[in-house]
């Protein structure tokens, strides 16, 4: 039957995913794995698992299998975590899967970026059920109102894989994928210290998150989880500032839904300028301190 289960791997995904679920026009339930999910975002039922910690993919996918029956569609917000688990769940269900949905033309026809975002494919699903991971930036914010039936559920979490250690990113900056402002830098930032003072300094002044190019990550300037692009994080802030970034296709694919893109680059021919709302041809080491000074005063 035509019914959607939205799996919220993180609490904020309940609301993010509801935007997609509402636009999909199908009755839907939310399975919320950790923390509290909103009960006024249009879901008929909110199932709360209240897991203290998510188990490795093999255990979690098996646990989720018990809840996925009876749905024509099972969706989650795209993330490394959801790709890890949802594709395994699709394997257990012998189901079709569409990764990184950016648009739904119908319950069986979806648009998604391929080849590092250089091409948009329209994919038809030929069998039910179908599993989806969804990039939320292409969908409207959900209408809130009403109230869902809230139930507590128990998810089996026994796993073959065992988590030995976790290293979480330290810091107080907002989450890259949800920040209102993102300031990103590329290889010209040279080293971690320079990156932190120039890019981090501007981000902190704007209350924003920090991002980086794959080149900056590959050169060891910043850790991997800050990479923005088709193979990294997809961002859609109100303001995206790209400093010393040439604008590779795969980077542009990760930022194109930003409301305003600013590019600061010495090279007037850098492709980033083609996609920027405001392009400034300048040395970022001159322009960013000047920008910080002018943002700080005159308000």
């Amino acid at each position: 039957m035509a019914r959607l289960l939205l799996i919220a791997f993180q609490p904020h995904e309940g609301l993010q995913g509801a935007g997609f679920a509402q636009s999909f026009g199908m009755p839907f339930d939310v399975l919320n794995l950790t923390g509290e999910a909103p009960n006024d975002a249009g879901a008929e039922r909110v199932l709360s698992a209240n897991l203290a910690e998510l188990p490795p993919a093999d255990g979690l996918a098996k646990g989720l299998l018990a809840f996925a029956g009876g749905y024509s569609h099972v969706a989650a917000i795209s993330s490394m975590l959801s790709k890890d688990v949802m594709a395994r769940l699709a394997g257990l269900m012998d189901a079709a899967m569409v990764t990184d949905v950016i648009e739904a033309d119908s319950p069986t026809v979806f648009k998604r970026p391929i080849v590092a975002g250089t091409v948009i494919a329209t994919v038809e699903v030929l069998a039910e059920p179908v599993l989806l991971t969804v990039r939320p930036s292409g969908f409207a914010k959900p209408k809130v109102g009403g109230s869902s039936i809230v139930e507590s559920v128990l998810i089996e979490t026994a796993s073959m894989a065992k988590r030995v250690s976790v290293v979480a990113r330290a810091g107080t900056r907002p989450d890259l994928t949800r920040a209102r402002v993102v300031v990103s830098g590329g290889r010209p930032l040279k080293d971690a210290e320079t990156f932190e003072s120039v890019i981090g300094g501007l981000a902190d002044q704007l209350g924003g998150a920090v991002g980086a190019t794959r080149a900056a990550v590959d050169n060891g300037i910043v850790p991997n989880e800050l990479q923005v692009g088709q193979t990294g994080k997809i961002v859609a802030p109100d303001l995206y500032i790209a400093a010393g970034i040439s604008g590779s296709t795969q980077h542009m694919a990760g930022i194109k839904d930003s409301k305003v893109i600013v590019a600061i680059n010495k090279d007037p021919d850098a492709p980033i300028f083609e996609g920027a709302d405001f392009g400034l041809v300048a040395d970022l080491f001159d322009a960013i301190p000047e920008l910080r000074a002018k943002l700080g005063t005159g308000e």
Partner: protein, 245 residues
Amino acid sequence: MRILVPVKRVVDPYAKVRPLPDGSGIDTGSLKFEINPFDEIAVEEAVRLREKGAATEITAISIGTAQVEEQLRKALAMGADKAILVESDAAWDSPAIAEELANVARELKPDLIIMGKQATDDDNNQAGQMLAAKLDWPQATFASKVEPVNGKLHVTRETDSGEETLELPLPAIVTTDLRLNEPRYIALPGIIRARTKPLEKRPASHSPSPKTRTLRVEPPPSRGAGKKVANVDELVAGLKERGVI
């Protein structure tokens, strides 16, 4: 430890690709084909595990037409011991690939399957996890470090917020991320020498029935022509006007 490494033939990941004018697919006319770069990292990791004495035999496998031999020969040149080409000109989506690889794995009984986290053409990021599910083996995706420890694997994997290390009993599936290693450079003589290594061609064990199909491909919508500002003052004024600062 015996290792199976699935590899995919993909259009040159560094070339600029365009949709065909009729939107039926990607224009690969003049483009080269390569091993999917994430699969190349997988081959490299397998070879390093053997060089460390942790692996005894490496088999590369691919599904496709006779042209795919080129990519399998590259894997052999990098150090794989033998290769299997499952010959087929059918359309294979991730569930079908996982099914076929699961059948091969049940026959060959490798201790480890290591493959790319995704192929750079379809960007699906599905086949490894689906294969792990079908075999009921533990998985570690997005691997940045693989270490054999007391008959198990410790795999450090990249996560949305940092990294974590999983301990996997064998047999297991690992999918590779960029930072796992830098694949060695193989000069032409190496590829030619690899011509004598065994490459088995066999038919598919099942006929794929795809669960998805691509209706059309098109260029992404453009953001419109970029606009340049002359200096920081103009930039600040513009940002204020747009209400983002």
